[in-house]
Subunit: 306 residues, 2 copies
């Protein structure tokens, strides 16, 4: 059975009281059409000035919740991501006070990207692979009352996990009766970490199959098909590292070194280097077991410059 | 110019007073033959009992230091990893009190692996890709006096970074005159994170080209060629996640969920699941910017089961 989730009924908060916009049986397919995360406040014609006037209460418009018959707390909701399709454009911003390096990047910055092809250019310097996914897919958290969408949780939500592309399957721990699945906040591209705080934020269409499984998982799990970014995965990688007792600081140090490297070697402004890191650089925990000194690597596929 | 680093002269500690075992010019090549990390205390015939009697002062036998003429503090040592060759076997152990999940795995456990082929079997359950690298490559830290090898630092050292395979290049910040490059602690396989505290610890042969660059980097950087584990990188991946305010706890939760998944679905003991996670599972920071709630994913290439 196929359904369309009403696209004009969105919610901006997780709340157990949100009325389902659709009720389906386990195994049914749904199609969605979602707004970009600013809810239309940013358009293809926007400039950086728009960032000063954002109404933050309108961030994260999610479609749903979708009520799945038979889903009970303790169950697992299987979300098969059947298709994802961009709507031709998206934006990436540096937002003051947010992101991994807020002290180095205190000023707002906005870029608009064309998502109509397989890659999108960052000026004439890099070609960013377009591999879209929904940044937010989740079930309603137990007891949620006007809970903000930005932080994810064991219920999923704002997972910003780039592996969840078309062909992937996401498993979510059901916390309320009917699961109350919602989604939105799609990205045209993003690296592991989303370091500048945005991917390529984009309106998106998608189809999912939702099924209830009578088993319990502690947090989201997923499977993903093959290479994520086949256009660049076979080429040479460049890595910077952060070493120390705090993984968060390690990640900051690694990204700081990557931004410096990109500015030095690639004719990029610091802002564009940070944006490129958010869209193409993957944060890996290289080791987490060596006497309290950890290494986080920031890894860039150099084929984006080819 | 080609040199052989004396293989019988090893050091177990970083120390500025360690006498160089070789002096070379910038741009020279060196060949090394290194012992596995236990310094011969573990052999292909060893059983778990050996772990109770390890002399820890003999862990991390490193060859070198190699003095590179012209290297000064503030320079960068370029280490081109020209070749790496296994010596046919290696071992992986769970060591009490160490690793990412010490509470769940309080008992010692040892497995011997055959490294004579492209993959090495974990019983008849999984085929682990053999992609060897040196777990420890570093320059002597400034001011080092009997400093243990286990924790790495901005000088490199015990980096346990799986990307540093044959064909890669590592850049290290020189901290003492002559750089004093040492290496050892090679691994036949390891995932990002090395979660059980060991890779496949193995004796290894390698060749490097060492060159001095008159520029300064804050911490190790590297480049790596193409796919790291081409035998499994194109297949399906399975991911578990940890979500929360502490990246270390997120990583623990993700690995805990992966171990549980492997035990449930793959006829593996908990110990072998943990070992497989250490050898094949990569820890990724999926997002690090969402209002203080982070996601670490533990990612397993399912092609190891093919």
């Amino acid at each position: 059975m196929q359904h369309t989730v009403p696209e004009d009924q969105v919610h901006y908060l997780w709340d157990e009281g949100n009325e389902p916009t659709l009720r389906i049986e386990s195994g049914d397919e749904i199609s969605v059409e979602t707004r970009e995360v600013s809810d239309g406040q940013i358009t293809p014609e926007s400039t950086t000035e728009v960032l000063g006037d954002l109404d933050v209460s309108r961030l994260y418009p999610l479609v749903g919740p979708v009520y799945v018959e038979g889903a009970e707390p303790g169950d697992t909701l299987k979300v098969e991501i059947l298709s994802i399709e961009t709507r031709g454009w998206g934006w990436t911003a540096i937002l003051p006070g947010l992101g991994l390096l807020p002290d180095e990047f205190p000023d707002p910055y906005l870029r608009i990207f064309d998502l109509s092809a397989d890659t999108t250019p960052l000026d004439d310097v890099a070609k960013i692979p377009v591999e879209p996914f929904f940044g937010t897919m989740g079930v309603c958290p137990a007891g949620a009352r006007e809970q903000t969408v930005m932080p994810p949780g064991t219920f999923g939500g704002n997972m910003d996990t780039r592996q969840l592309v078309q062909g992937s399957t996401l498993y979510l721990p059901v916390q309320v009766e009917g699961a109350h699945f919602s989604c939105g906040d799609a990205h045209g591209a993003q690296g592991d970490g989303e370091v500048c705080v945005t991917g390529i934020e984009a309106p998106m269409a998608g189809t999912f199959r939702l099924s209830v499984e009578k088993r319990t998982i502690p947090a989201p799990q997923w499977s993903a098909p093959g290479q994520l970014t086949p256009r660049v995965d076979d080429g040479v990688f460049f890595g910077t590292t952060g070493v120390g007792p705090d993984l968060y600081v390690c990640a900051q140090d690694a990204v700081r070194a990557m931004v410096a490297h990109l500015v030095e070697t690639r004719s990029l402004s610091a802002e564009d280097a940070y944006v490129l890191a958010s869209l193409c650089v993957d944060l890996k925990i290289s080791e987490i077991v060596d006497a309290g000194q950890y290494i986080v690597s920031a890894v860039l596929p150099l084929a984006v410059f080819a």
